[in-house]
């Protein structure tokens, strides 16, 4: 199997993987960063969202071979201690029910707020539309994004 050099959460990793392995499975099974979740495998649910060069991307669709030389951030690297404003807002609002989709939600929200620090309600709803929460914690997610936006101003 070929090897790949990855830059994840400001650390370098060399991994051996099949060339078509999605970044998601490299993160989870090879680097042991399991905060990035598997939901659908086809980029439809957003559970596997990570930041690639600052943009929210689905790690189930990004191949390990394409991820080399990119700056990748996972939920584990969003902050050192859970103190990113989005994480703090999530805690304040007590968003999660089962919690499984929440790292993907947080990664989508944090990338979005970096580009739009003062979003309207409908902008928030559209930005978060790609992330499914099967427990339907959407009201709380919406509120937490608003709270996070205020914290980031």
């Amino acid at each position: 199997m070929p090897t790949f050099n990855l830059n994840i959460n400001k650390k370098n990793y060399t991994v051996e993987a099949d060339i078509d392995t999605p970044l998601l499975w490299v993160l989870r099974d090879k680097i042991n960063l399991v905060g990035t979740k598997f939901g659908c495998g086809i980029g439809q649910c957003g559970a596997c969202t990570v930041h690639v060069n600052g943009n929210a991307m689905r790690s189930c669709l990004l191949l390990v071979s394409q991820a080399e030389s990119m700056d990748i951030t996972t939920i584990e690297g969003l902050s050192e201690d859970g103190s990113h404003p989005v994480q703090e807002a999530w805690k304040e609002v007590d968003v999660p029910q089962c919690g499984y989709c929440q790292s993907g939600q947080i990664m989508t929200a944090s990338a979005f707020l970096k580009q739009n620090s003062n979003p309207s309600k409908s902008q928030i709803r559209n930005a978060m539309h790609g992330n499914i929460c099967r427990c339907a914690s959407y009201n709380s997610i919406e509120k937490a994004v608003e709270v996070a936006a205020k914290k980031m101003l």
């Binding site: 859970g82 919690g99 947080i106 539309h129 790609g130 499914i132």
Partner: protein, 741 residues
């Protein structure tokens, strides 16, 4: 009536046990679920048990640190937070000082380590508080002995014991002595007004781990030397494996092996073993063992398999035809409840209203796909993962692998959703059979496609509801249910309007299908409530009376009933109706806002809801739902709010979009690109209000979901003038629009 049935009797002395820890500190254990039953005889000699034999316990260290073990599986319903809150309240410690750990399964002594039916809090309300109060009293007693004073002159608060002389000791200072004391005969529980933890919103105890991505879920669990497995199962219900070619899969560098499983399950059936949690597909399955999840998933795609038809290949069109034939009386109905003379009431009626309501199959679609870890060795069967029924599952695995039950160990992880899917153990059995075959620790992971197409679905169902009207009054009510694989649960015919209408009958009939079906969030009532509460909207209209008034009037007939079978409280239904009416400004028109009302009792909780719909691009959009709930005392307001809002939005989503069908046995949807779940931009704002109560708490995981379908349907009618009878409402309206336009 429900309230009187909630009395819990138990013998505290038999079920509480303390143990001094070798490392210092004290453990107090309590056999929670055995204790809920009346006259239960301890299963073994209590004095011979150690703390591990109890499924709910407190650990207090010498430093005064408190660990509370949460006994029940956590599927997002919040019990890992709310159950320990009950203990901590009576133990009287600061919630910030409590560390919560998931308790393991103990198959020997316990009967209800289950997540299901919204029952965890209801059953544990008294016993868990008793556990905390008992520990507190023993700590007080130890301090009193140390001080040489009467225990009655001492008190404890927030982890600190004081006496009338002003002496002070922490729980940690006396914990070792306390552990050796007699368990007190009697403890006094706090009055609700003295609660400092119960009734105050507490964050999810796993919140820090969730927001930082720490391993928590089944899919996150790992062990040294673990391999990964993924399974190719028959593509259609009614097919089984004939042959397969694994050459391409075996050529993949990440594929370690390809095997088949199924033999053990056949033996299990041949041995006449069965369990309601084991939904068994009668076919061999092909398993690809890989170095990583991806290797296994990819390997499965490279398998070329041939399948043969083994039984009927059913289609949704067949089901629809069959269910209609059943409703029309093709087969004899089973009468679940019959009051008065329905036939006579209908014969003598001035007018009869009859409507038919339809709902499709539904997959659960937990965000965490089905998975489980298994390590089968000569010594034991070690299982780790997300399961709602660990106790029953352990039994099935023991039977499957022909092992002693005490060799089967199950650890429950946090679950990425349950909704009923994880009541069933098929994926645990698969993992166990794979590990047994390869004798290695293995993690079985389903792809989303595998998860959605080999489910245990909410069965498709149709209801025909009829009411007779005479002199402007409802004189009779007749509900017929035709369902795939089994009908409604026996208590349900005793829900509203049972007791409220003199001539009342509920009949069921079912069709046996080879498609696996089972419980789905709020089983049986998730669509029944939609049907009945839509019918009542139309009935009120036919009677020319106000929708709310019709309900309140009917409830009058139930007050003071001596009918023990009646499951709901008319007073509590009245309470939620009035609260919902008030909070939603029902009856006060607002331009562009169309309202629909619904009220329902299920899972011991009374709920009324008002949905508001607006028209956008000629289609109804649900904008807001007001939800009034009577669940007794609200243990954790934060968690309760999440459950209520989640249940309502989940209900709106499935009522509008949830669709699933089969063609020749093959599921027609397999991932989220075609199967539609509600998403953020389609979500209404939910407002939740709780009836103030000092009654014992009831569950919240399910009861807010069933009524909302009808609230939405009735609001759609208010907005469009069209009644909707078939879920998913929105998809079916679109089809109609396309046909018309």
């Amino acid at each position: 009536m429900t309230t009187s049935k909630q009395q819990i009797t138990f013998n505290r002395r038999s079920f509480i046990k303390t143990t001094a820890l070798a490392s210092g500190g004290m453990l107090i254990g309590f056999n929670l679920f055995q204790a809920c039953k009346e006259g239960v005889v301890p299963p073994v000699d209590i004095s011979q048990l150690n703390f591990n034999d109890f499924n709910a316990f407190i650990k207090i260290s010498d430093e005064g640190k408190v660990t509370i073990f949460s006994p029940n599986p956590e599927i997002g319903q919040g019990v890992k937070t709310s159950m320990p809150m009950l203990i901590a309240e009576e133990l009287d410690v600061k919630w910030e000082d409590v560390y919560v750990e998931q308790g393991k399964l103990d198959t020997k002594n316990y009967t209800r380590q289950v997540a299901g039916g919204s029952q965890s809090i209801r059953f544990s309300w008294e016993p868990l508080r008793q556990t905390g109060a008992t520990a507190k009293q023993m700590l007080i007693n130890a301090a009193a002995i140390r001080w040489g004073v009467e225990a009655s002159s001492c008190s404890a608060k927030q982890g600190v014991i004081t006496n009338s002389n002003g002496d002070v000791l922490g729980y940690g200072d006396v914990v070792k002595e306390a552990a050796l004391l007699e368990v007190p005969e009697k403890v006094i529980l706090k009055k609700p007004e003295a609660f400092t933890i119960i009734g105050k919103g507490q964050s999810n105890v796993d919140i820090d781990k969730i927001i930082t991505g720490k391993p928590l879920f089944g899919l996150d669990y790992k062990e040294e030397g673990m391999v990964y497995a993924s399974i190719l199962r028959p593509p259609a219900f009614g097919q089984k494996l004939e042959s397969y070619d694994d050459t391409a899969a075996r050529a993949m560098p990440g594929v370690l092996d390809v095997i088949t499983i199924g033999e053990k399950l056949r033996q299990y059936k041949d041995n006449k073993k069965k369990s309601w949690t084991a939904q068994l597909v009668d076919s061999d399955k092909i398993v690809v063992i890989g170095k990583s999840t991806w290797d296994a998933l990819k390997g499965v795609k490279a398998i070329k398999a041939s399948w043969v038809t083994d039984s009927d290949l059913e289609s949704t069109a067949d089901h629809d035809r069959i269910l209609f034939e059943l409703l029309d009386g093709k087969k004899t109905f089973t009468t679940k409840r019959s009051d008065g003379d329905v036939k006579k009431a209908f014969d003598e009626a001035d007018k009869v209203l009859e409507r038919t309501y339809e709902a499709p199959f539904l997959p659960h679609n937990c965000m965490e796909p089905m998975n489980f870890f298994a390590n089968v060795t000569a010594e034991k069967v070690h299982l780790v993962g997300p399961i709602q029924t660990p106790e029953e599952t352990a039994k099935v695995v023991a039977d499957l692998l022909e092992r002693d039950l005490n060799q089967v160990e199950i650890e429950m992880t946090r679950m990425g959703g349950g909704f009923g899917r994880r009541l069933y153990s098929d994926f645990v059995l698969e993992a166990a059979e794979i590990s047994n075959a390869i004798q290695k620790p293995v993690k079985m992971v389903s792809s989303r496609e595998g998860d959605m197409t080999t489910g245990v679905y909410r069965p498709s169902v149709k209801y025909k509801i009829a009411a007779s009207i005479k002199d402007g009054k409802v004189t009779g009510y007749h509900l017929k249910e035709a369902c795939i694989n089994g009908g409604m649960y026996n208590l349900i015919p005793n829900f509203f309007p049972a007791g409220a209408i003199a001539n009342y009958q509920v009949d069921t009939v079912s069709y046996k299908s080879n498609i696996t079906t089972g419980a789905w969030r709020a089983p049986y009532t998730n669509f029944l409530a939609s049907a009945e509460q839509s019918f009542f909207d139309e009935l009120a209209e036919a009677l020319g009376v106000d929708r709310i008034k019709l309900h309140l009037d009917l409830l009058q007939n139930v007050k003071g009933t001596t009918d023990e079978r009646i499951q709901y409280s008319p007073e509590r239904l009245e309470g939620v109706i009035k609260l919902a009416v008030e909070k939603s400004n029902w009856g006060q028109p607002k331009a562009g806002v169309y309202k629909g009302f619904s009220v329902y009792y299920c899972h011991n909780t009374h709920v009324a809801e008002v949905a508001e719909v607006a028209m956008e691009d000629n289609m109804p959009v649900v904008k807001r739902v007001v939800c009034a709930v009577d669940c007794g005392i609200v243990v954790n307001p934060l968690g309760a709010l999440n459950q209520v809002k989640g249940g309502v939005i989940d209900g709106v989503g499935h009522a509008l979009y949830g669709d699933f069908s089969f063609k020749d046995g093959v599921p027609q949807f397999n991932n989220f690109n075609t199967y539609q779940l509600i998403r953020m931009a389609q979500t209404p704002e939910v407002e939740a209000y709780f009836v103030e109560s000092d009654l014992a708490p009831t569950g919240l995981g399910e009861p807010t979901l069933p009524p909302v379908g009808a609230a939405v349907a009735n609001a759609i009618y208010a907005a469009t003038g069209n009644r909707v009878y078939k879920q998913p409402y929105l998809n079916n309206m679109k089809v109609e629009q396309n046909i018309l336009g």
